[in-house]
Amino acid sequence: MSDPKTSSSANSLFTSLKFQRRAGIVIRWIIAVILIIFAVFPVLWIISAAFNPSSSLATQHLIPENASLANFRTLFNSDVFPFPLWMWNSIKVTSISTILALFVTTIAAFAFSRFRFSGRQNLMKIMLLFQVFPSLLSIVAIFYLINQVGDVIPFFGLDTHAGLILVYLGGAMSINIWLLKGFFDTIPRDIDESAMVDGATHWQIFTRLLFPLMRPMLVVVAILSFIGTFGDFILARILLRSTESYTLMVGLQIYTAGMFSQKWGVFAAGALLGALPIMIVYLVLQDQIIGGLTQGAVKG
């Protein structure tokens, strides 16, 4: 956005413009480097800590002196903190709830996009309204509810993954329905109309025609909602009670309690393993995710 200066001499205009551009780039790079240090430093530090065998906060240098996998070994062999189990719990709970949530939301979005019925607009608005009240605000009530459900059906009660998944599913509808409906709206209705003429049912249109067309967008929504659920802390924290049923995020938090400075290295290794998959997904699928973001999805 540099303003060309009015100058009598074409030559001096040229040099000053060129000089301004160069200087501008240099200054911007200097700012960029400072910002990048701010952005990347914690990440570098955690990588360094993960490979630093002396597991204490106090004795850490950015480049560890004798890097080793000792922290990772501790992580996987600890009896007190079953890290692999937590990782498995997280992946299990997140995958199941993502797939189920996507299923119920997609069929609902299909109906919102393709059918016209009275109350359609209002129903959509109600969904938006409940997005304003995140489940975070009703933690007390959710705890109370799951406790009651568990009195009769222990399988869905407190300290069960099934109960946690139910709660995640309850919040799924209001979060993604607008995004998915928007995606359905981008597919021309002529496609389903011609199929209708050929005698296809709605279900056939949905499964054979629209679903394959939607697949790339569904992948993005699935990833976003996977990341959101994977990073959830509070619901898992209040509903899961025993160490064996913890998800990764709840488990990692234990490391930081009490003797944080001694468990720093092990925590770092765990944090790295927890963060790495998501980080890779983000950086590889940067453009698709940003596309999804600008259409209204919010990071959890």
Partner: protein, 523 residues
């Protein structure tokens, strides 16, 4: 296409299948609701009735065909998202919490299990046996000379010699041996410190040693009288009337546990009247408004600044810079918050080691209220700016470049074109996101709780409260981490206050969005 979305003519088989599955679902809901009603969870029963009627209507009437597609999602949403919101309101007016966790029905069952040792109850003479593992057995003889064998936690049974390892009886009717156990002589038994404490038997029938010669059976202490809605103490004859979910006598004695009961606006009164509750709450509310304001302003400013600086397609290495600056966004925020906590650790964290070696400073990030707040804002800036970097980059590209050309003709400088063109147009699209982000940070529990658990603590507070606590983390402390017991009712009442604030901001957001839409139409 069938735009009304009604069902096409269905085959009889499909229709019967639909009815059958509906029958199964409704049958399950009725069974579940019945079991919940037995436990006294009537709000849940109402919910199940609503969900059941909704599903039945949707699958029975063809007019509701489009809703069939949404039925699973809507049913889940009603149960686990809509209902908890209303339940929060209900809980806010109850005393649900430690000491009042059960429903009235459950609590009566619990209280009626209490036993007491009557002076003149059915009595036994006793003989003690002890195993090598240190477990006790008691041989009981009632007045008619019938023998019983009693262990801790197992029902007392009438035993003949030869059964359960019991040997021949001696002249007094006491077995000479019990397999695996040694008989204790009377002196040893009386001197044994454990023996008198043990409750032998199980369930209704419990016997305890009262004196060297006598063991007595326990009897039910409280009996519920539905007519008076009161508990009657069988031992003393006192009557405990129910008051706000607790059975209590006129002179103030109470029975534990109490039960959940509607207590009106007591919770709200509590934190308005009690200075120890109100003091921290006022501070927390003030900080709760400032924290998201500062966070969002700084995140947006930095994000916008980066977008402006590096949006230039001619800038070399633009993509690299963007990827590196995006990194904070790509790590689950929970993990990075904990990493920052480690780095800022005043004793051993890397930041203080650098600060002390460079400037000799050693700021107490975790102990000083202002430093803790400052650190929180910096961490939140780190967490949040990439989002605005992304959003602003997108929004800047959508501003047509002709506008700048026209402005240049009018002689504006860079600052003026930013102030009067870029910023207003940007706020059209980003403004609602800023408000959404304000709401998000208003309830940013993860950051507050994971960074310092709300600390450093406010001294003199009646419940656990810290200088960096916001309302939602204060609620969490009240509900789940209370050092003085969990108080779900009070927590829900504070949540209702948060609801009001969120509704207020959402209304502003709604009006703001419309306002800026009008502005953009005029440009």
């Amino acid at each position: 296409m069938n735009v009304t979305g009604s069902a096409k003519s269905t085959t009889p088989v499909a229709y019967i299948l639909r009815l059958l599955s509906l029958l199964i679902i409704d049958g399950f809901l009725v069974w579940f609701g019945y079991r919940q009603a037995l436990l006294g969870n009537y709000t849940l029963v109402v919910l199940l009735a609503i969900v059941g009627m909704f599903i039945s209507a949707v699958f029975l009437f063809n007019r509701a065909y489009p809703l069939r597609w949404m039925a699973p999602g809507l049913a889940l949403m009603i149960m686990f998202s809509v209902y908890p919101n209303f339940l929060t309101i209900y809980v806010g007016f109850t005393n649900y919490g430690d000491g009042h966790l059960l429903t009235k029905e459950q609590s009566i069952i619990q209280i009626e299990k209490a036993r007491y040792l009557p002076e003149g109850g059915s009595a036994y003479t006793w003989t003690a046996f002890k195993s090598d593992a240190g477990e006790y057995a008691l041989w009981l003889l009632d007045e008619t000379g019938v023998g019983y064998l009693a262990f801790e936690g197992q029902p007392i049974t009438q035993v003949q010699p030869g059964e359960m390892g019991v040997g021949e009886l001696d002249s007094k009717g006491i077995p000479q041996s019990i397999t695996g156990y040694q008989r204790l002589n009377a002196l040893l038994a009386v001197a044994d410190p454990n023996l008198g404490e043990i409750k032998f038997g199980a369930d209704e029938n419990i016997v305890q040693i009262q004196s060297p010669s006598r063991a007595a059976a326990y009897e039910q202490k409280y009996v519920y009288d539905p007519e008076q809605d009161a508990m009657i103490d069988q031992e003393t004859g006192k009557i405990y009337f129910q008051v706000d979910g607790t059975f209590r006598t006129v002179d103030g004695k109470v029975i534990i546990p109490g039960y959940q009961a509607y207590i009106g606006i007591q919770n709200f009164k509590d934190f308005i009247v009690s200075p120890a509750l109100r003091g921290p709450l006022v501070r927390i509310i003030v900080w709760n408004f400032i924290f998201p304001l500062l966070s969002v302003f700084l995140q947006f400013s930095l994000g916008l600044g980066i977008a402006l600086l590096y949006n230039d397609p001619k800038f070399p290495g633009k993509r690299l810079v963007r990827s590196l600056l995006l990194i904070p966004y790509t790590i689950p925020s929970l993990i990075t918050i904990l990493i920052w906590r480690g780095m800022l650790n005043p004793e051993v964290g890397v930041i203080n080691r650098m600060l002390s070696s460079l400037f000799g400073a050693n700021p107490a990030w975790f102990a000083d209220p202002w430093l803790a707040k400052f650190a929180l804002i910096v961490v939140n800036l780190w967490l949040g700016y990439p989002y605005y970097m992304l959003v602003c980059s997108g929004a800047l590209q959508s501003i047509p470049s002709e506008i700048y050309g026209a402005a240049k003709v009018d002689g504006t400088n860079i600052w003026q074109s930013f102030r009067f063109i870029t910023l207003p147009l940007l706020l059209v699209s980003v403004g609602p996101l800023l408000l959404a982000s304000y709401i998000y940070n208003f309830n940013n529990f993860n950051l507050i709780y994971l960074f310092l658990q709300g600390g450093p603590p406010i001294s003199g507070a009646a419940t656990r409260a810290g200088h960096t606590d916001i309302m939602i983390s204060y609620v969490y402390n009240l509900a789940f981490e209370g050092g003085r017991g969990q108080n779900f009712g009070l927590a829900a009442a504070v949540t209702l206050l948060i609801f009001l604030v969120v509704i207020g901001i959402s209304l502003i957001q709604f009006r703001y969005t419309r306002m800026w839409e009008e502005v953009s139409e005029n440009v």
